[in-house]
């Protein structure tokens, strides 16, 4: 293929060439980073929570009026008995918070009683012996709490429990060499708590960026949350009966006592809603980046079509001359395709550099991860293909210019 005549011709269209190359470069830079962000966000929002999401829902039960800790403790047990009796319910547990709830307690965990800088900062779920079955967790070592181990945590009470169950991630963090079971840990207290069980996987309440290093580090406390403000009832429906259970649960609770508030907006959430809420900014970013990338590619392609069509129209006469001198249709077609490939190559080389620079800048600004070069490669190939695809129609039109055009003036 004759590259030199193409380069010579491009010199006459410096501005147009530069503009197409610039547009391809910028599009590449944005699209690479956008695709990378989409992949990161999608990976984040599809992280498993470790619970039986399909059958779970949560009642945010706030207490109305004044009750003593003993009264609350009794009321919670009555409520749970009523929930567990519902035909559509498999199990129910009280909880101070739940995975992906977005807020809740974390309690620093230490290996020695007088440590100032914590070893881990796990999420804490205060509940009873039903939580493991309710959430559908897998106990991989040790045992569950016994009913007689369950304490209570009243208003502004803080007493570290003698026994805790930890997630595997927390066990590995605290005891990297294994054998966490039976070991004592110190939870903001000078008295130790013994690890009596390890569950496989359980997500924290929050999935914000700062919690990334602590993902899945959580622990269960054998403590009924008797806070006067209220608590959550986590309910696991029997398979396929989630809707029925969600209808019946509030009725069953109000039948026990009316002095409670189940907020009409946030009081009753299926786990699907919980997941949707906690990841809404991730989903939003992925959608935005998707729209921007798609529109950008279309506009760039359309821009290439527009400018190339102009060039073809401008050079009709020259094309006619070439055809009259013996060039085949294929030669004209490949001329424009090659011309576009050359411009695109200039664009993608510059674009790859800009893409990486943009990513490095975002790493410093937005705690973003490093761009994988695979995305740059995908972007380069996409844009080269896009350029060739876009130029095809005007190039075909050029190839059909008849040789007789050479003899026509205007």
């Amino acid at each position: 293929m004759q590259i030199r005549p193409i380069l010579a011709a491009l010199k006459h269209h410096k501005a147009g060439t530069a503009l197409i190359a610039l547009q391809i470069a910028l599009t590449l830079a944005i699209v690479c980073n956008a695709l990378f962000i989409i992949q990161q966000r999608l990976a984040h929002l599809s992280e498993p929570s470790g619970v039986d999401e399909a059958n779970l829902f949560v009642v945010n039960n706030e207490w109305a009026g004044q009750m003593s800790t003993a009264q609350l403790n009794a009321q919670i047990q009555t409520d749970l008995a009523a929930l567990r009796q519902l035909p559509s319910v498999r199990d129910a547990a009280p909880s101070s918070s739940y995975p992906l709830s977005g807020f809740g307690d974390d309690i620093p965990a230490n290996l020695t009683p007088d440590q100032l800088q914590w070893t881990a900062d796990p999420a804490m779920y205060a509940s009873d012996e039903h939580l493991i079955d309710t959430l559908g967790l897998k106990l991989i070592a040790g045992r569950n709490f016994r009913a007689d181990e369950i304490g209570r945590m009243g208003v502004r009470d803080f007493t570290a429990p003698p026994a805790v169950i930890v997630t595997k991630a927390l066990a590995d963090r605290l005891f990297p060499h294994g054998a966490a079971l039976g070991k004592p840990i110190y939870l903001m207290s000078s008295t130790p708590s013994t690890i009596i069980g390890i569950v496989d996987r359980l997500q924290r309440q929050s999935v914000d960026t700062w919690t990334k290093a602590y993902a899945y580090q959580a622990m269960l406390w054998p403590t009924r949350p008797t806070h006067p403000q209220g608590l959550f009832y986590v309910v696991r429906a029997r398979p396929g009966q989630l809707a029925a259970a969600m209808r019946e649960a509030p009725k069953a609770l109000y039948a026990q006592s009316r002095m409670r508030i189940i907020d009409p907006k946030n009081g009753l959430l299926s786990f699907a809603q919980v997941r949707q809420r906690i990841y809404d900014s991730d989903r939003g970013m992925a959608i935005l980046m998707g729209i921007v990338s798609a529109v950008l590619l279309v506009i760039t392609a359309a821009g290439i079509v527009g400018l190339t069509s102009f060039w073809v129209a401008q050079r009709r006469k020259q094309i006619g001359v070439r055809r009259a001198l013996g060039a085949r249709q294929r030669d004209i077609l490949s001329y424009f395709m090659t011309e576009n490939l050359l411009i695109s190559l200039m664009g993608v080389v510059a674009g790859a550099v800009v893409a990486i620079a943009l990513n490095l800048w975002m790493v410093t600004q937005f705690e973003m991860a490093r761009l994988s070069l695979a995305y740059v490669a995908i972007g380069v190939l996409t844009l080269l293909a896009l350029g060739q695809g876009a130029v095809l129609a005007p190039a075909l039109r050029a190839s059909r210019v008849p040789p007789v055009e050479a003899t026509r003036s205007v």
């Binding site: 009026g65 800088q117 208003v155 009470d157 921007v292 506009i299 069509s309 129209a313």
Partner: protein
């Protein structure tokens, strides 16, 4: 001449319909993306109390020490002991402590189902300090603070729910089983971001229902409905031991009018922390901060990173659309080189050609702006897809956004047209006429 060129411009919109449509669509999408993300960014990064943001300060005292504080920064709220000490010292013109409450109320008497109401425990100074507007009555006095009065200020929305919007001053309401006398009803007031309570919220939350005296709330041992962040060993049971603990949960605010007052208060804070060190309560040198509203908003990272990233992405997108427009305008203008040659030969100056093509570009920009406006109007309600609902709701298509959309579209297209119009003006008449 301007009107004539404008007319020519509009006419030429129809001349290369595909090319023109492409430019209009590119500008429309570019400007709409920028405007939608800008409207969100504008809302989240706004100054919630512009005329007083430089006079309101939140003091911070490091009660956790260098090994347990937030990477050198003091905790974002105060513990009870320090909070009360600052209040008692009374070194500011106005001062308040606050913490969030969530109490139950029976809106329709004892037979109705209870409802949750959100409020704050505050001092009487809260209302004048933060310029809370009143519909009926007013806030309470310092005497009410001192006497731990059972008084309450309702919000307009909550007053609507409880009293159907009537003047309820002097009437009684029951919150969590305790009676309070209404002394005031605020007008709708929900500054966004809620700068005074960033310790407990992201800053973008629904309006508050009521305000109670801080002193009364403590008497009744009403718990904070917000965060409680602790360090050290926690072996407390009960309210009094908790008050003395290392847990921070109270947000303080002071009003300081002049630079001298600020310097004085800063000195006082340093002195207070030094006293605590001498008394053996703190085993570290004073580490205090006194941030005003703007500094506090920045420190608490109120603007969500998503909002910033999406604005940047939208602007980059717009920039690419403009590069696209430069190329297409170049094609559109130079296609008419023959026509330009004729006009130049008939005596039109380069300047006139330049003006004509700039005006033509402006018409393209205007068309793009109108399309952008339609897309923005369609996209602003769709912001809920991209941002959290509390934040998406803040995005609004108001008059200033409409004006901004149109002017940005026209100005950006004009900027893009400088080079193509210049090229058009450089067309050599002789060369054009000869070749044709």
């Amino acid at each position: 001449m301007f009107a004539y060129y404008l007319q020519l411009g509009f006419r030429s919109l129809r001349r290369n319909p595909a090319l023109t449509a492409l430019m209009v669509v590119a500008i429309g999408f570019g400007v709409a993306a920028s405007m939608i993300t800008w409207s969100v960014f504008r809302a989240v990064s706004g100054n919630p109390i512009p005329d007083k943001s430089a006079q309101l300060f939140t003091p911070q005292v490091d009660s956790w020490g260098p090994q347990q504080n937030l990477k050198g920064e003091p905790p974002e709220a105060l513990n009870y002991v320090d909070a009360m000490a600052l209040m008692r010292a009374h070194q500011a013109k106005r001062q308040t402590l606050l913490y969030p409450l969530r109490l139950s109320v029976l809106p329709g008497g004892s037979r109705s189902l209870p409802m949750a109401a959100k409020g704050y425990a505050v001092y009487g100074d809260f209302f004048p300090m933060f310029e809370v507007p009143f519909l009926y009555g007013s806030g309470w006095s310092t005497q009410d603070d001192d006497s731990r009065g059972a008084v309450v200020v309702l919000s307009e929305e909550f007053n609507q729910k409880l009293f159907g919007g009537a003047d309820s001053v002097g009437r009684e309401i029951t919150l969590n089983g305790h009676d309070y006398r209404v002394v005031g009803v605020t007008r709708h007031w929900n500054p966004k971001p809620r700068f005074f309570d960033l310790f407990n919220s992201s800053g973008f939350v629904d309006a508050t229902d009521f305000y109670l005296p801080f002193t009364r709330a403590l008497d009744l041992q009403i718990n904070s409905a917000g965060s409680n962040s602790c360090r050290g060993k926690l072996n407390f049971t009960g309210w009094d031991r908790w008050l003395q603990s290392d847990c921070v949960w109270v947000t303080p605010w002071v009003e300081l009018d002049s630079a001298a007052d600020v310097a004085h208060y800063r000195q006082f804070l340093e002195g207070y922390a030094a006293d605590q060190q001498r008394a053996g309560r703190f085993a570290w040198a004073p580490n205090v901060r006194l941030r005003d509203v703007t500094q506090w908003l920045a420190h608490e990272h109120v603007v969500p990173p998503e909002s910033r990233i999406s604005l940047l992405v939208a602007l980059a997108f717009f920039a690419i659309c403009l590069v696209n427009t430069i190329g297409l305008l170049l094609a559109k203008f130079l296609r008419r080189a023959g026509e330009i040659g004729v006009r130049r030969a008939l005596g039109a100056s380069r300047r006139e050609i330049y003006t004509q093509y700039l005006i033509e570009a402006a018409t393209v920009g205007l068309a793009g702006g109108v399309l952008g406006l339609l897309l923005t109007a369609a996209g602003v309600p769709g912001a809920g897809l991209l941002f959290q609902p509390q934040i998406a709701r803040l995005a609004q298509l108001d008059l200033s956004l409409v004006a901004l959309t149109l002017s940005v579209a026209v100005l950006a297209t004009l900027a893009a047209a400088f080079y193509p119009a210049w090229r058009a003006a450089q067309v050599q008449p002789a060369w054009q006429l000869k070749s044709n």
